[in-house]
């Protein structure tokens, strides 16, 4: 199965989702991220969804799970690049991404984490 690449940048992990997500890839990503956080001692995770044209309940649940599990593993997750149409749709779908930090783009997401977002 195709797995999404996870890049390590300083003390952060970056995943940039560039393909149409299948559910099995979503589950694999969740597991791979947990492993990599422990393995690298990363303090932050940036998930770039700029290229995603939809986020449904399955992907939304993965984002929430990654945010929760990274917190347990002493790291913080930021989701960046959500398209406006995706955000509007998520609200109507009924998915509140409460507890998930978001930023406009990767650069801002990284800055948010290095500004102590990872410590709070």
């Amino acid at each position: 199965m195709e797995r999404l690449p996870i890049l390590k940048i300083g003390s952060m992990l970056l995943v940039s989702i560039q393909v149409d997500l299948r559910d099995d890839m979503v589950i694999a990503l969740q597991e791979d991220l947990a492993d990599r956080i422990v393995e690298t001692g990363a303090r932050g995770v940036v998930i770039d969804i700029t290229a995603l044209d939809i986020v449904d309940s399955f992907t939304g649940r993965m984002l929430a799970t990654v945010a929760a599990l990274s917190r347990i593993l002493d790291a913080e997750t930021v989701v960046v690049g959500m398209r406006p149409a995706v955000a509007i749709t998520l609200v109507e779908l009924g998915l509140s991404l409460d507890g998930i930090k978001t930023a406009l783009n990767v650069e801002r997401g990284m800055r948010l984490l290095s500004l102590g977002g990872a410590a709070t």
């Binding site: 299948r22 939809i54 309940s57 649940r61 509007i88 779908l93 009924g94």
Partner: protein, 132 residues
Amino acid sequence: MSAQELAIAGDADVVRVRQAVRAAAVSAKLSLVDQTKLVTAASELARNTLTYGGGGGAVVEEVFNGLRKGVKAIFHDKGPGIADLQLALTDGYTSGSGMGLGLGGARRLVDEFTIDTAPGDGTTVTVVKWAR
């Protein structure tokens, strides 16, 4: 565009259904937000067909109402059916490990939503989204 019939038998098929619905929505000139809403609803319904219906199919077609264009998507399976539809449509109810948002959410995201289901007799969900 003529009606397109797609099988739903695995995760890759859910992706293909989303792509077919997106193409039809673009062709019917739905706005970007409406395209996104319809494709998201289709993703939820295709996944339900796979997860709970044990697989099935989708029919995607362009529809017309006078000069107005829209997209109709039908999701059908021969699975166990839904015994308590009211409950299944309730936000937060899941018989599996989901969030229970798919059905109720899909209904909110489209203009027309009908379910035809009976215990032991499979499930067919039909949705339509019209261009504004």
